[in-house]
């Protein structure tokens, strides 16, 4: 599919460059002529949106770092100064803070799309794992970034999350002290989080480079999940997908702008406008919305170490998914039973997010507990809802996905990307079989 480059240097400079460092050829082959399946829908535009979001976060972040002071006595005020006194500081910080949320929104759509169309299956396992690495780096980066404004939620969020590591037997406490650079979350912690928050986005950018490389070896998956069989299944990336991605990006940026200009604090927590105080914990600690499902899983488990293991296990399950899925059919378009389980999975993830935002003992239905205690908590409580959802979350990866691939009867998969269109009754079905040539 990658095939031979069709780039022909036109100017003298391009010819000179091409024999020394063929970057123009690389760019041309990547974003102009790259043969892309012609049936990609709008769910496939989120890769481009994500690349843009990474760029926006890096640019706004570098600017904010010019005004931010990573010290426990000045951090909170320096952020307020950015919001009030620095020219357009309010704009740049609102873009950066809300940009993190938009970045995660886009990555979740991108991931669910990959799950639905089976984009993680051979030969795209490495592509998928690199994506999981990017996601993990994003979580770490976002967590450290949230600590920097040094508000109450920043501080106590950092305390709770770094204490998770203390759950590791024997070495846990030493690792926690090592991470803190002291005996509590304090100035050394803030300093190193700032340093790492600056570093990690560039590491993400590096892994994104590998991710795109791994994408361009087998080429894009597509909504049918069928391999590209011939040139007639593809269109060049430009102008077809530059325009489609561009349109999707425009719509996405409109939504982003609504948050930045009209409700910049809607996704944040008001408690973070209180300066950090190590002696008083806010009554209700919650992470940012994009981490709530994992937080719900953590709290669902009564044992500290098991809770931590399951929370990380929820992410680890994504990494091994290519080897858990036993089905030969990629796209869930042709897997009606699994599709149903998938939609329940998406719903469960959202419910877990809802659970993560609520205090664990709150009732789910009505305003009072049922009075029926099961093990350690009331049946009508957020804890039990989290437990049921966490169970489904893991069952989806470790039980449903392996079993369904073996037991289900998938629908007929089309011969090629073009054949469902060409063999449509409206068109004469003159042996519109895929051409015999194989992928190069």
């Amino acid at each position: 599919m990658s095939g031979h480059s069709t780039y022909e240097p036109k100017t003298g400079f391009e010819r000179w460059m091409d024999t020394r460092l063929p970057v123009i050829r690389l760019a041309y082959d990547t974003v102009v002529t790259f043969p892309t399946p012609k049936n990609l829908n709008y769910w496939y535009t989120f890769g481009g949106i994500l690349a843009l979001m990474l760029g926006i976060q890096i640019v706004t972040g570098i600017v904010l770092a010019m005004h931010y002071v990573p010290h426990v006595d000045f951090a909170f005020n320096s952020v307020q100064r950015i919001m009030r006194d620095v020219n357009y500081g309010w704009l740049i910080r609102n873009i950066h803070a809300n940009g993190a949320s938009m970045f995660f929104l886009a990555v979740y759509v991108h991931m669910f799309r990959g799950l639905y169309y089976g984009s993680y299956k051979a030969p795209r396992e490495v592509l998928w794992i690199l994506g999981c690495v990017i996601y993990l780096l994003m979580i770490i980066t976002a967590f450290m970034g949230y600590v920097l404004p040094w508000g109450q939620m920043s501080f106590h969020g950092a305390v709770v999350i770094t204490n998770l590591i203390g759950a590791i037997p024997i070495v846990g406490p030493s690792i926690t002290t090592w991470l803190w650079g002291g005996f509590a979350v304090d100035d050394p912690t803030l300093n190193r989080f700032f340093s790492l928050h600056y570093l990690l986005p560039f590491m993400i950018a590096g892994v994104v480079g590998l991710h795109i490389w791994a994408l361009h070896v087998p080429g894009n998956n597509n909504p049918t999940g069928v391999d590209v069989k011939s040139a007639e299944d593809t269109v060049p990336f430009h102008p077809y997908y530059t325009v489609k991605d561009g349109f999707a990006i425009s719509i996405f940026l409109l939504m982003f702008a609504v948050f930045v200009f009209y409700m910049p604090d809607a996704l944040g927590d008001a408690v973070n406008y209180v300066p950090a105080n190590p002696l008083v914990t806010p009554p209700h600690i919650v992470p940012e919305w994009y981490l709530l499902p994992f937080y719900a899983i953590l709290r669902a488990v009564p044992d500290k170490l098991m809770g931590v293991i399951l929370m990380f296990g929820a992410i680890a399950s994504l990494f091994v998914l290519p080897w858990l899925d036993t089905s030969k059919v990629r796209s869930m378009r042709y897997r009606p039973t699994v599709r149903l389980y998938f939609f329940i999975f998406v719903f469960v993830c959202i419910v877990l997010g809802f659970c993560g935002a609520k205090p664990p003992d709150n009732p789910v239905l009505g305003h009072s507990p049922s009075g029926l205690i099961l093990l350690d908590a009331d049946i009508n409580s957020i804890v039990w809802l989290s437990r049921i959802c966490a169970l489904y979350y893991f069952a989806y990866f470790w039980v449903i996905t392996p079993l369904m691939g073996l037991t289900e009867t998938p629908l007929a998969v089309p011969e090629s990307i073009s054949s469902p269109v060409l063999s449509h009754p409206a068109i004469t079905p003159v042996g519109a079989v895929a051409s015999p040539e194989k992928r190069g």
């Binding site: 998770l164 002290t177 002696l279 044992d303 500290k304």
Partner: protein, 184 residues
């Protein structure tokens, strides 16, 4: 000798023909490089541990005269809150009574204060679950309640209910006089 057959008699002096020598150089160079990187890795890891000045600030003195009976003062120590509590006889009595209750982290009240100073309870004020600061007077055991995930501690700071695995920690401290303690 223009017609020498190539390879007929291998020249023992051609470098690289002896696989053992070549391997030795490869392995030796590799070990040296790994040793160098490994040796340098430690300083780069250890720099993140508490620095000298952080360690030097690690102990404080506190005047107990400020704390009336039934009161609790929160002091900052090593970046964490420290509870200095002057317990009432009723609290001490409750704590001793619970010594033989079903405790998750069994400890008698005796082991949690200095001998003969049963009214002075000094604890690190961070929940042993995930480090939030428990508040006094909450929960059903007359002690502390952690607002984050609902751990309940008794009047001796022992865990009685909720997700925390351990009792509230007692720091290293010593009485300098009847009214002065040194913590750390």
């Amino acid at each position: 000798m223009a017609d020498t057959v190539v390879g007929a008699s291998p020249d023992p002096h051609v470098p690289g023909d002896d696989p053992n020598r070549r391997d030795f150089i490869h392995i030796a160079a590799g070990v040296a490089a790994v040793g160098l990187v490994g040796g340098l890795a430690w300083p780069f890891l250890d720099q993140m541990n508490p620095a000298g000045d952080t360690l030097a600030m690690a102990s404080i003195e506190f005047d107990l005269g400020k704390v009336a009976a039934g009161q609790q003062v929160v002091v900052k120590w090593r970046g964490k809150p420290l509870f200095v509590r002057n317990r009432t006889p009723k609290e001490i009595e409750e704590a001793i009574k619970a010594d033989h209750a079903d405790l998750r982290d069994p400890q008698t009240d005796e082991e949690r204060h200095k001998p003969g100073k049963a009214n002075w309870l000094i604890l690190i004020g961070t929940c042993t679950h995930l480090g939030c600061v428990p508040t006094f007077g909450g929960g059903e055991y007359g002690g502390w309640f952690c607002p984050c995930h609902g751990s309940v501690y008794d009047t001796s700071g022992r865990i009685r209910k909720g997700p925390a695995p351990k009792n509230l920690m007692v720091p290293d401290y010593a009485f300098l006089s009847d009214t002065k303690v040194k913590i750390g």
